[in-house]
């Protein structure tokens, strides 16, 4: 295939519904009853020390990727001929960063709101929050599925267009 690690992760992301950080299932384990198998409870999502937990992992990773991806995009589209592509790549990256940050914040706020405004327990509240989050990725899956088998296309230009179209639809959705 001739794919490096970055391209491999990119191609693999179109074959899954949930990001690994949410839907990872250990090998040999059966399907989880939880919506997000990697984040079974709010405690796993956000620990009290605010240093561990999936949320801290995501936000720290996003902070790291913010500069890393910015630099990668800038270096890749050095030629003025690709100025439009560079701008699209930066725009998509920024919108994705914003969406992830807002989603993480919404999960916290919605969980606390359920606890304070209803008689739901933490498990019940987290079940609802994780269910909504799962629904988001399932909707994204509908438009991203068009590029699930794009690797089979021979024409690299067509393959790139297929991925780009699916990503654009994902942003629209």
């Amino acid at each position: 295939m001739g794919l490096d690690e970055r391209e491999a992760r990119h191609v693999a992301s179109f074959k899954i519904t949930y990001p690994t950080v949410f839907g990872y299932i250990k090998e040999g384990a059966s399907s989880s009853k939880h919506h997000l198998s990697a984040v079974k409870s709010f405690k796993d999502w956000k620990s009290f020390d605010c240093e561990s937990g999936v949320k801290a992992f995501i936000l720290n990773g996003m902070e790291d990727l913010k500069l890393q991806l910015y630099q990668d995009i800038t270096n890749f589209f050095l030629d003025e001929k690709f100025y439009g592509a560079k701008m699209i790549a930066h725009d998509m990256h920024n919108k994705s960063q914003i969406f992830v940050a807002e989603m993480c914040n919404w999960m916290d706020v919605f969980f606390q709101e359920l606890l304070t405004t209803s008689e739901a327990t933490e498990e019940e509240a987290w079940l609802l929050v994780s269910g909504c989050t799962k629904k988001i990725f399932e909707d994204l899956r509908r438009v991203r599925a068009t590029a699930a088998n794009a690797t089979s296309e021979i024409n690299p230009s067509s393959k790139c267009a297929t991925y780009l179209w699916a990503l654009i639809q994902s942003h629209i959705g």
């Binding site: 990668d72 994705s96 989603m103």
Partner: protein, 401 residues
């Protein structure tokens, strides 16, 4: 002769008084006897005058009975019973008494001659002079009568001199009074309104001039005010007319604008309803976004075909050109009615179909650059290959050691 002329002079113990009944000495004027010589006294007693004339004479004698005055007992005065009563002018108010000479002693003949010569003039010049009758002198000798004439002439000359001096005195007093009157008038004028001289302008010297000037100024001001009011009234009327005309024109314009707005709102509403109906029909026709994208692709292909028709030589005829133009317009109209709510603007670019993306990638994107475009899933997948919590790593590290 009236009855008053029969009143007799009575010589009492203390003086001479007019007898008109009991207690006349206390009720009427009198003079002291020692003021007159014996001859004068005898002469006076023979004279007959009215009561008022006697009172006046008594008063005159008493007034001039001071030590500085002329002694009544001087020779010639009332010596022969000839007395002229001279009344001082009543209308002249003098601070100093007139120097009326009392020692007038004219004989009847001389005085009569003088009076006869100046009968008309005398009444004009001295209407207050009264000629008194005197005693007869026929029983006197020629020498005595000549002496009396000489004395009378001297008395006439002195009297004339005295009258002349009196007239000059009266003239001086009159001139002095006139001068005082003018000065007081000027003082009064300057004091009216307490107006000082430095406040007076060049246009007026006295306060009367100032008042006249102010009066004329007030009249001019009133006239100007009336003119101004009339002009203001006319301008106000014209302004009202203009405002009314403007209001009417503005009202008509607003009515027209309102009607236009209502028609425009109706037209917009109709267009919105038509657009909503078209969108609904399109959405009902295409149950998925893929079909909508396919429609967009078809529209793009149609556009490309039209472009090809433009460039082909066969389309040089005018008929074909018109058809192509009409077709272009219809295509644009159809494109404008395709819903664009699901379009996203990324990097100043808008893609309506996958074919547009393909063209864009073909021309402006490196073919191996698909990993540079991110969404939230690819971005989260870039976090790590597998999700491993830090404590798990630490536990594994601890168990391994």
């Amino acid at each position: 002769m009236t009855t008053d002329l029969h009143c007799l002079l009575c010589l009492g113990a203390v003086g001479l008084y007019i007898s008109s009944g009991r207690n006349s000495a206390f009720a009427w004027h009198s003079i002291k006897v020692d003021l007159l010589s014996s001859e004068q006294l005898s002469s006076v007693l023979y004279e007959k005058h009215t009561r008022e004339e006697w009172v006046y004479l008594f008063h005159l004698w008493n007034t001039q009975a001071s030590p500085s005055a002329v002694k009544l007992g001087a020779p010639g005065i009332l010596g022969h019973g000839v007395v002229s009563a001279i009344k001082p002018p009543k209308r002249v108010c003098l601070e100093e008494p007139l120097e009326v000479t009392a020692n007038l002693n004219l004989s009847d003949n001389v005085l009569a001659e003088v009076i006869e010569e100046n009968q008309g003039k005398w009444e004009e010049v001295a209407p207050d002079l009264v000629l008194l009758s005197s005693t007869s002198s026929e029983d006197k000798t020629q020498e005595v009568r000549l002496e009396d004439i000489l004395q009378s002439w001297d008395s006439l000359v002195r009297t004339t001199k005295a009258l002349s001096s009196s007239f000059r005195s009266i003239q001086r007093k009159h001139s002095k009074l006139s001068k005082d009157f003018d000065e007081r008038t000027s003082t009064l004028e300057s004091l009216i309104g307490q107006c000082s001289e430095n406040q007076l302008k060049d246009d007026y010297i006295t306060i009367w001039d100032a008042i006249s000037f102010l009066h004329s100024g007030l009249e001019a001001l009133g006239k100007n005010l009336s003119d101004l009011q009339a002009r203001n009234l006319s301008q106000e009327n014209s302004l009202k007319d203009k405002v009314k005309a403007l209001e009417e024109s503005a009202q008509s314009t607003l009515t027209k604008i309102s009607q236009s707005f209502s028609e425009l709102a109706t037209f917009t509403q109709v267009l919105s309803e038509e657009q909503a109906l078209i969108i609904q029909q399109i959405k009902s026709s295409f149950d998925s976004d893929d079909k909508l994208a396919a429609l967009r692709r078809d529209m793009q292909e149609l556009n490309s075909k039209i472009s090809n028709l433009d460039t082909t030589p066969n389309s040089s005829s005018s008929h074909m050109s018109e058809e192509v133009t009409a077709l272009k317009i219809q295509v644009k109209l159809l494109e404008s009615r395709i819903p664009i709510y699901n379009l996203l603007r990324l990097g100043a670019m808008t893609f309506q179909s996958q074919s547009e993306v393909a063209v864009f990638v073909e021309n402006k994107v490196p073919h191996n650059s698909f990993s540079m475009f991110q969404d939230i899933v690819t971005l989260m997948e870039r976090l790590s290959g597998t999700y491993v919590e830090r404590k798990e790593v630490i536990n594994e590290w601890y168990q391994a050691t």
